[in-house]
């Protein structure tokens, strides 16, 4: 094999965005090594610039004719580009949030950013990984960085406990996932590339064998952990409560997006023959997640725990699109994850701002905030109402599209359950809005009574303000002006061969309706 052939198989241009992230990461580390703590004034901006450059590079990768990189280990198709963009964007906003937060906790910013960029790298590679070892390596890159980030504020016992718990559950689920992966390797007769595994399984006529089902369930356990689907959700509330808030902002968006990317790629490529089975399993997960996430969130008193359960519930909503298993279903997932990025990061930015100024996360302490900090009240209200699906915010359109796609695919009961649980969710989101907006001045909490003077000039507050306003505007208008995002989401799935055959045929639909007409 001559060099030119190898180079063409490598197709290294595909991973230019990740290359930029790696360079940024190294740059951050080296600058910190040379300059020490002094670098923390602008090192965050360096990282953000790197991430934005990586997103620009992703833009030029769009519609890449030859997306396979490194002999099929990495797939740079449009689907992966969208997910890599989501991961990179969520990391960029997370850095905006974390500059002040990490400084205030008395820890080093550069190491934090370096680990966060490593996690981003893992998430971006996971979005496009199409080979078992590659999947495992990028999954573990993401996971280990997440453990480190969770326990980053190491003087806080809750952060320590969260990290240990997260590590234990994460390592166990990784082991389960690895076992499933090794089964796949064996069942397919020694293939590691996803398409080859699918062919191997199909040609060996193993489509309904017990081994495939076991491998499927083990793989789902690994994925379910990442997207925090009930019953693999138990780490979420504890980690969200203990970990630094910017970290959970990333975990709730970037890590979750990477998990969904893995789910789509793995399930549609490797397991199309057992589609009924994985749809059944994911239906169960979605039902459990929606019910448990939304009902338990009702009883939370801490904002971060409430957002943890709400993120479990949101994962349940997104799973409707996955179960629909149509192009519209996948597009609606991607669209929802995009708007979820804006609204969740907006919500977390507000939570960070509030806890930076008052030092508390209790929902009861938010009461009467409208008088002292109108912008924060507006931001948190808009983001929570958008999470609840109130028009004309972005979340409303996201949910409508998910439900619409689910209904088209005939998931009537799941969509109805989604509707009912959204009604439940409105209650706990509005509870916070009620605390902030409705409460009288005399009902103001102690934290709000002693609220400091609002100043954006303190170091690290300006990026928070920029992040808050950007995500707030995006959450408010991304619904009304949703056409570009819809087009993006649809284009990202139309050309993917593994999702091709899943279009619902319109003739088939009319056949169903005539059939129903004929019924007496």
């Amino acid at each position: 094999m001559d060099f030119a052939n190898v180079a063409s198989q490598l197709n290294a241009g595909t991973i230019l965005p990740e290359g930029i992230v790696v360079l940024t990461l190294l740059g951050v580390l080296i600058v910190d090594l040379i300059l020490g703590r002094n670098s923390s004034r602008w090192i965050g901006y360096l990282a953000i610039a790197g991430l934005l450059a990586s997103i620009v590079a992703l833009y030029f990768e769009w519609d890449n004719a030859n997306p396979l990189f490194f002999a099929g280990a990495f797939n740079g198709d449009n689907l992966s580009i969208v997910f890599r963009g989501i991961v990179a964007l969520s990391a960029a906003v997370t850095i905006l949030m974390s500059i002040r937060y990490v400084e205030q906790s008395g820890t080093a910013l550069a190491e934090f950013i370096a680990i966060l960029l490593t996690a981003t790298l893992g998430g971006m590679f996971l979005s496009g990984a199409s080979e078992l070892v590659m999947i495992f390596v990028s999954l573990e890159t993401l996971s280990i960085s997440s453990y480190l980030l969770t326990g980053y504020t190491k003087r806080d016992p809750r952060s320590n406990e969260a990290a240990l718990k997260y590590l234990l559950i994460g390592a166990a689920s990784t082991a389960v996932f690895l076992y499933g992966v090794s089964l796949l390797y064996g069942l397919s007769g020694g293939q590691t590339e996803l398409n080859a595994i699918a062919n191997g399984i199909a040609s060996a006529n193993l489509s309904q064998s017990l081994g495939i089902v076991i491998a499927l369930v083990f793989a789902i356990a690994g994925v379910g952990f990442k997207i925090s689907a009930a019953p693999f959700h138990q780490w979420t509330p504890d980690v969200y409560e203990g970990a630094p808030t910017p970290v959970i902002a990333f975990l709730s968006v970037g890590s979750k997006a990477a998990g969904f990317a893995l789910a789509i790629r793995l399930l549609t490529t490797v397991f199309p023959l057992v589609a009924e089975e994985w749809k059944f399993v994911f239906t169960a997960l979605a039902v459990l997640s929606m019910v448990l996430g939304n009902v338990v969130a009702l009883a939370q008193t801490s904002m971060k725990r409430m957002l943890a359960y709400s993120s479990i519930a949101q994962a349940g909503f997104v799973m409707i699109g996955l179960i629909a298993d149509t192009q519209a279903g996948y597009a609606s997932m991607i669209f929802y994850l995009l708007v979820y990025l804006f609204m969740n990061l907006c919500g977390f930015t507000c939570v960070i701002l509030f806890s930076l100024r008052t030092g508390t996360d209790q929902i009861a302490e938010y009461s009467g905030l409208y008088q002292k900090d109108p912008l924060l009240t507006l931001g948190l209200s808009i983001s929570l109402l958008s999470l609840g699906g109130i028009p004309p915010l972005a979340g409303f359109f996201g949910k409508i599209y998910l439900f619409w796609a689910g209904w088209q695919a005939g998931l009537y009961w799941l969509v109805l359950l989604g509707l009912i649980t959204s009604v439940v969710s409105i209650y706990y989101y509005i509870r916070v809005v009620k605390m902030m907006v409705v409460k009288e001045p005399q009902e103001m909490s102690d934290a709000v009574k002693n609220y400091p003077e609002i100043s954006w000039n303190l170091p690290g507050f300006r990026p928070l303000q920029v992040g808050l306003i950007t995500t707030l505007i995006a959450t408010s208008i991304a619904g009304i002006l949703s056409n570009p995002l819809f087009t993006l989401a649809n284009n990202s799935v139309t050309d993917i061969p593994t999702l091709q055959a899943k279009t619902v045929d319109s003739t088939q639909v009319s056949a169903i309706s005539t059939e129903q007409t004929d019924r007496p």
């Binding site: 028009p391 004309p392 619409w404 088209q408 009912i420 907006v437 409705v438 056409n483 819809f486």
Partner: protein
């Protein structure tokens, strides 16, 4: 043209919300009054442009919005909605006018009221099911805040109850809309592109029941009504006017537009049960109102009763009954507005709403004579006394429904009688009798406080004497709607008649 009705109030709301904080409440109120007055004038201008003889949609506007979802910005007005739009404009103006000049947090209050007004106009105008739903859900949060910030003692409970009931109603409606569009195989939610003719009867009935339950919460019909007494009673007077006058109409309008017009076959199957439901609702509202000790609660239950007639008329679906239904929506809106306004005045001046404490307000010098006179007029209008608009619409409803559903119609007539009973109780306990000499030092009712009631009273009397102005707008549209309903009910009529 039509977009102005939606966007002018919403832009005004945005401007008011962004005003600097040191502007006095009264000046914010005047600004909101100006904005809603402009909207009202624009409404009247549209009425001039409206072609009465055209039964279809007029003044249509279309903009593509989101092809993937089948959502387009498509507006239109017809005989069913034109008067409701004017009602919305009028009552918004009156609600803002009758709000206190010292409202706390005025910028939020007036911008929410204007936002609601724009949203309701959007819902009445929308010709796309998803667009309708968007505007329908838009009412949710503003009304929640309006109830729970500026309400009475138990406003937190009432606000949450309203929120949850309305959210459930929205979920039911959305599920039915998704169902309609998907099972008909349509690719968009456009109203005129939908046809349910090809569906099986069972499917049609399921979807129709979903729609009726969803809008029935909003109207409200009897077992689904329990949010109403709390929300109406705890809301401040201007908000109660909007809640009862405008928001309840969204429910009846939804049932007519999306239930009856989209499912004519299923409608005629369900019509007998709906007629009975309407009659039961009317009876229940009247009987429960008799037992109340709080005047606002009485008026709230009277609202349940009056909305029952609309369901009866819609079920009968003769041309006359449907005209009556539209007329009843308008009459009920005006009458409820005057009653809630006057109750608000009485509460503000006397300081109580208890029937056992109020007495002798008719006293010309120390009582509130003009207010009580108007209250008598409003009560009579509500009870269906000839010469006022309530009588006209109820009479048309009964005349139109009797040939189809004699028994439910008779029940509703009895309910009108009971309405008269509880309004006589109300007027007797509040307006007549003697003033308590220890308590009766009431503040004066200023002229501008009486103004809305005087305007509404004039409207009630005018439409009662000259009812053509009330019914002529809707007639072609309702006749066209009725023409699509198959006359299956006749068989049922005979059975009932034989009994």
């Amino acid at each position: 043209m039509l977009s102005v009705l939606i966007w002018l109030p919403i832009f005004a709301a945005a401007i008011i919300a962004l005003l600097p904080g040191n502007i006095s409440a009264n000046r914010v109120r005047l600004g909101a009054l100006f904005a809603s007055g402009t909207v009202l004038l624009w409404n009247l201008f549209l009425l001039l442009k409206f072609d009465i003889n055209n039964p279809g949609m007029q003044l249509q506007e279309y903009l593509p919005w989101n092809e993937t979802l089948g959502l387009s910005y498509q507006l239109g007005v017809d005989g069913l909605s034109i008067l409701l739009l004017i009602l919305n404009g009028l009552l918004t103006w009156i609600a803002i006018y009758s709000s206190s000049q010292q409202t706390e947090r005025p910028r939020l209050f007036y911008s929410l009221v204007l936002l609601v007004s724009g949203g309701v106009a959007g819902a009445f105008l929308a010709e796309n099911l998803l667009l309708f739903f968007l505007f329908y859900e838009l009412e949710l949060i503003p009304f929640y805040l309006l109830i729970s910030i500026w309400g009475g003692q138990r406003r937190a409970y009432a606000g949450i109850k309203f929120l949850i009931y309305t959210a459930v109603s929205g979920a039911l409606i959305l599920a039915s809309f998704l169902g309609i569009v998907w099972v008909t195989g349509s690719s968009s939610f456009n109203y005129d592109a939908l046809s349910t003719q090809t569906l099986s009867a069972t499917l049609q009935i399921i979807l129709l029941v979903g729609i009726i339950l969803g809008f029935g919460i909003k109207i409200p019909l009897v077992p689904l009504h329990t949010w109403l007494p709390d929300a109406y009673v705890e809301a401040s007077a201007p908000i109660a006017i909007l809640l009862g006058g405008v928001l309840a109409k969204l429910g009846t309008y939804g049932i007519l537009r999306f239930g009856m017009a989209l499912f004519p076959d299923a409608w005629s199957t369900l019509a007998p049960s709906l007629a009975i439901w309407g009659a039961v609702s009317a009876m229940y509202g009247a009987v429960t109102a008799i037992a109340q000790k709080d005047i606002k609660r009485m008026v709230a239950y009277s609202s349940i009763g009056h909305m029952g007639y609309i369901l009866l008329a819609a079920a009968a679906s003769t041309p006359l009954a449907l005209v009556g239904a539209v007329a009843q929506m308008i009459s009920h809106g005006i009458i409820l507005a005057i009653l809630f306004h006057l109750v608000g005045v009485v509460e503000a001046k006397v300081g109580t709403r208890e029937l056992d404490v109020l007495n002798g307000l008719m006293n010309p010098i120390r009582g509130l004579p003009l207010t009580s006179a108007l209250l008598v007029l409003g009560g009579m209008a509500s009870a269906g006394i000839p010469g006022m608009t309530g009588f006209i619409s109820e009479f048309i409803v009964f005349q139109g429904s009797f040939s189809v559903f004699p028994l439910p119609t008779l029940l509703c007539v009895v309910a009108t009688g009971l309405t008269a009973v509880y309004f006589v109780i109300l007027l007797n306990r509040t307006c007549f009798g003697k003033l308590d000499n220890n308590l009766a030092y009431y503040p004066r009712v200023l002229w501008h406080e009486k103004m809305p009631a005087l305007v509404l009273a004039a409207l009630i009397l005018f439409l009662g004497v000259q009812p053509t102005w009330l019914v002529r707008w809707a007639e072609p549209t309702t006749t066209a709607m009725v023409a699509t309903i198959p006359p299956i009910e006749k068989a049922v009529t005979q059975q009932v008649a034989l009994k």
